[in-house]
Amino acid sequence: MIRKSLFVLPLVLAAATAAHAAGPLALGSAIPSADVKMKNVDGKDLSIAEVKGAQGTLVVFTCNHCPFAKMWETRIVELGNQYQGKGIGVIAVNANDPKVAPDDGYEPMQARAKERGFAFPYVVDATSDVARAFGAARTPEVFLFDKEGKLVYHGAVDDNGQDAAKVDKAYLKDALDAVAGGKAVPVAETKSIGCSIKFRS
């Protein structure tokens, strides 16, 4: 039996490692790369540690070019702006290589943040290593940490990217309410279709 399991293992690993360099961050994990400085759209360098909130911290991997990020953008901005006032630190991170997705360059990011009224920072993950450390794979993909800095929610904004009016489960909003109120998050991990992050090589 042991021999058989060992034989099978490399195949399983090959399949798993193909998905992400290290797999997505596990629930309960601390904020990875929290001290890495990233350039914000206001020109200042900022780390996730610097935006940490008293009640929790929301890290959103998003971008300008992805149609799915755009579909959820209004909701992301509303939630980010709203919960920033409720003790949640909020930061949007763009890890895409602008050589692959030119719309994700710094200037288009500045324009986007202004145009859409981001009240929270929108920073450049200039090596894509922050996204790698999170095991983020797509945009949009959100990670919510509680006030102790432990990951309590990871995944989608809600269950309907196409139509905000038809959302059944507002996963991120529910998780934010729970974290802001010091309660347990109802659904901790979800998925959605999205754009693959264009990692810098």
Binding site: A16, A156, G161, K191, G194, S196, K198
Partner: protein, 161 residues
């Protein structure tokens, strides 16, 4: 034959890809598991996904080249329901002449139903061997030589179980 050219244009214009069939993850798995293939190449794409569109010619190149070796290619559009026509236009442009799918239902059910390791990022490609076992899975586009090698490895696994 002055009428030959307009006729040819007409025939080409009429050579539309079949409209993608709505399918949930279970229906896609049923197609993967249907006996008779030496390997199954599954690609999940969308009209709005630039890297998906970029890799499509390479994907179809491999699909056509290895069809004779028993490869079954399963294309699944992740476009929304109601966007079948747009998906078909792209498939037609690419010269797809076989049946394909368009996913139905909630993202979460579809993504987890396809494979637990899949984050939902597009494109997503799965390569199964002839017995329906997953051999390779990755997110993001792959080039023709990479695609071909991975499919050939899956076909070869049939001979060395």
């Amino acid at each position: 034959m002055p009428s030959a050219i307009p006729l040819l244009v007409l025939v080409l214009a009429a050579a539309k890809a079949p409209l993608p069939t709505p399918a949930d993850a279970a229906a896609v798995h049923a197609e993967i598991g249907r006996p008779g293939a030496s390997a199954v190449l599954v690609n999940i794409w969308a009209t709005w996904c630039a890297p998906c569109r970029e890799e499509f010619p390479d994907l179809l190149h491999v699909a056509r080249e290895l069809k004779g070796k028993g490869l079954r290619t399963v294309l699944v559009s992740a476009d929304f329901q109601g966007e079948e026509a747009g998906a078909r236009d792209f498939l037609s442009e690419q010269g797809v002449d076989f049946g394909t799918f368009i996913r139905t239902g909630k993202d979460e059910d579809f993504v987890n139903g396809m494979h637990g390791e899949w984050s939902g990022a597009l494109p997503a490609t799965f390569v199964y061997d002839g017995s329906g076992r997953l051999v390779r899975f990755w997110e993001g586009k792959a080039s023709y030589p990479v695609l071909k090698k991975r499919v050939q490895e899956a076909i070869a696994r049939k001979e060395t179980p």
